[in-house]
Structures are given as structure tokens and as C-alpha cells.
Assembly symmetry: C2
Homo-oligomer: 246 residues x 2
């Protein structure tokens, strides 16, 4: 494609956005995988038939959206959930005392089910489509802090088992990325304060009815496709959820 000589599209969009879309497609189809380098700006400029400056602007936006990672002198890399910097991007929980604590994910259950109306709506599925449900605990310094219930499309994550969750040493999203090729690129969370039900109270070691932070999340992969819906109950006795309003 020589974009500089093509006829203008019906709905105008600048050249660098068209390039951005093409790069996104290459990312979505897995041409460049998580953690790998993508071709240099010069190579991409030749490949797409535009100047290096136009490539830069496309990559700039993708880097701003945390899809790509530039490293001077080395190249441009596909962002990965394995990157330690990505850890706090989706888990905004810190100890009240400050500092950093060791955390551990403890999978409890993982089973197949059929999507109810709510899960179907959240995941963009039809009612009765196969889904996978995970229940797990998140511990900080050995103490349970978050009880999660996670809903996934059965079609995408069909092979997922409790053993895989137990054996994997890394974050859930790292597992999804490396094993299923599904990268979360953004998420929407809705927070409320709710009283602890009996099950959660026992799991988290708090009194029944005591306040918990309810965090509902829908995560999206490439093309704004919803691929995960989860509800977490956070004990905020020793931790708090931090948020920066830019």
C-alpha cells in the first residue's frame, strides 16, 4: 500500500491514524507478539509508504495507550502483562501503611457454565453461550484481601482449568496473554461499598455485614472486544484503592 497516493476515504482520517489502524491489526492478528520488538520506524515507513514522522505519530499514540513500549536504542516493543510496570495498571490496591507487599493469587474453583443474561450482556455473548467461571482469592503478605469471581467467554478460554491456574506463576493476565493470546488493553471499573455476605466474610476473615469494596470490572482486548467480566470484594481494613485523577 502506498498510502500517500491513495484516494481519500469517505470518512476522512489523517494518514497517521490509518497507519495506526494497520499496526493495530498486525497486533490483533498476532503478527507481532507480546514482548517482541516490532520493525523499526524506518522499516515501517518503507512498508507503509509514508515518512518516518508519520510512523512516529502513529506509534506515539499507541505508546500513549500502553499498547506499545518504546525503548531508545533498542526498538519498539509490544506491551506485555509480564512487564512489572504493568502490575499496578489493573490492580490499584496498596497497603494503608505505604510500601509494597508480596501478593499471591489463590485459585479456588474453575468451572464451566452457561451465560446468564447479565454475563451475556457484559461479555457481548448470547444467553446460554458457554462461559467459564473462576473463583479465587488474592493475598497480600499471606492474608486474604480480595475475593474475585471471574467470568470468561468459554469460546476463547475453552482449555482453561483449575490446574493451569494453580501451576502458573504470574498474574492472571500474563496467563491469558501467554496461553490464549488474549491481551487486556483497557478496563472499566465500577466501585461500590457493600456489606459482606457470609461466604465472602469467611473467605476474607472479616465480620459478616462489615463494609467491603465491591469492584466490578469489564476488560477489553483489541478492537474494544469485552473478554472478561469480574466482581471483586476488597477488604479495605489494611488496604485502599488508589486512583489518580489527571
Amino acid at each position: 500500500m502506498n498510502a500517500s497516493t491513495q484516494s481519500p476515504p469517505a470518512t476522512f482520517s489523517p494518514l497517521y491514524r490509518q497507519i495506526k489502524t494497520l499496526i493495530l491489526q498486525a497486533l490483533a492478528t498476532g503478527e507481532w507478539k507480546s514482548g517482541e520488538v516490532i520493525p523499526s520506524e524506518g522499516e515501517l515507513a518503507i512498508r507503509f509508504g509514508v515518512s518516518q514522522g508519520t510512523i512516529r505519530k502513529a506509534i506515539d499514540e499507541l505508546a500513549a495507550e500502553n499498547l506499545l513500549l518504546r525503548r531508545q536504542g533498542k526498538g519498539t516493543f509490544v506491551a506485555s502483562h509480564d512487564d512489572p510496570r504493568a502490575f499496578f495498571r489493573f490492580l490499584r490496591l496498596v497497603p494503608l501503611s505505604g510500601g509494597i507487599e508480596p501478593s499471591r493469587s489463590v485459585p479456588l474453583e474453575c468451572w464451566r457454565a452457561k451465560a446468564g443474561p447479565e454475563a451475556a450482556r457484559m461479555l457481548g455473548l448470547n444467553v446460554s453461550d458457554p462461559i467459564i467461571i473462576i473463583r479465587r482469592l488474592l493475598e497480600f503478605s499471606g492474608k486474604p484481601v480480595v475475593a474475585d469471581e471471574i467470568y470468561l467467554s468459554g469460546e476463547i478460554f475453552g482449555a482453561l482449568t483449575l490446574e493451569m491456574l494453580r501451576d502458573y506463576d504470574g498474574s492472571l493476565y500474563s496467563l491469558f496473554e501467554s496461553t490464549f493470546g488474549v491481551r487486556m488493553i483497557r478496563a472499566e471499573e465500577r466501585l461500590r461499598a457493600v456489606p459482606a455476605d457470609r461466604t465472602s466474610a469467611e473467605l476474607l476473615g472479616v465480620a459478616e455485614g462489615s463494609p467491603l469494596l465491591s469492584v466490578e470490572r469489564v476488560s477489553y482486548s483489541y478492537g474494544d472486544r469485552p473478554v472478561e467480566w469480574r466482581r471483586g470484594l476488597y477488604s479495605t481494613e489494611q488496604h485502599c484503592y488508589v486512583n489518580n485523577l489527571g
Copy 2:
């Protein structure tokens, strides 16, 4: 200044960042006020002795940080809290049912005090420095949803009174901006779930001990100067706090 011929500074920073700093200074000193246009890119290029592209890159970053607002064909404007787009930047509360509700701020009290150790730390003051404390209610569709307690530096907001709060028709930050020339540019929030104390329960019309969302916020003005500390108790029976993880 002709930045392109100056000797390199001890700690290297690219030209466009130096320009950005100069623009930030002009914003902080009030050379260009909230809502006003700043000089065109061409004018700034001449004023600072750099190319227009370098000015663009500086403005790009400031626009990305929501300090400036570009409008094609019209100019570049100093961001303002009056802008309706700024409303949801600092209040991430939406009705569970979706949609948009009319909101109203109801000031309850406003008094002078001396900073305690916590307020002093949060606001970067010394203990016993003068501060102002505001208590107010936030209503959605006529029902109380948020009970706020707000701590301000007495030095900066010395003239603030309950009457001013009552008479002002707009957001609190619009008042701060227009009357005291203090613009909030970012904030850090820490969220927890807590049981309602008796006072808050009465104010919000919920049962004592029922779960409330506690939102502590420190807001910063130019130069990362903390100027406001507040704690809000949010009733999340009909509303939720939304957050986008990018």
C-alpha cells in the same frame, strides 16, 4: 531567549520540555488566565526563538495533561473548570441506572481552624497554620449522596465564607479558580469501604453502620503544590464510582 544557541544545561532536557516549563510558568503566574486563548503557535515560536514544531510538541504534552485545550481554527486555550467537559474529571460518580442526573452542592458549614498534624502533612503546611474547613452535601436529583469535609490552606483561601459558597452557582473548583486564581490540575484519591457513623448516616439518609465509600483526595495546583485535602463519604445505594483503567 534563544534556546537553540544556549549552552547545554547540567541535567539535559530537550528543548520542547524547557519550552513546556516556560509555558507552565506563564500559566502559574497568571499571564494567561483560565479560559483565555494563549498566543498562537507562530507567535510563541518567535517569542521563544524555536521552530513551530518544537512549540507544538510542548503544547501537545500540556494538552495531554489537560492544562491546555486546542481548538482547530480558533486557538489554544487555558483549560478551565467551567468547561462542562471538566465536570466528570474530578467527580467519578454516576447513577447505577445510567444516564445523567442534575446535581447540587449544599454548603453546610465553613469555619477557620488551625492545622492538625494530618491536615498539615497533607497540605504541606506547618502544624497550627491557619486552615479553612468546609462541610457540604452533594445532592443528585434532590437526594443527598455525598458528605464532604474539605480542608484548605487559610493563606490561599483566606477570604472564603459560607455565603460565597452558597451564592456561587457552579462547581467548587470553578469558584476556587475564578475567585482565588487557584486551578486544580490533578488529584490523588484513596478509596475504602467504611461503616456510616451517626452524623453521616443522618446526612445521607442511610442506616448507621451501613457501608459507605470513603474517598480521600489531595488536589494539586501548578508545580505539584497540594492545595486541598478532602474526605467524602459516598452513598453507593443508587450510584457508583467509575474508573477507567487505561
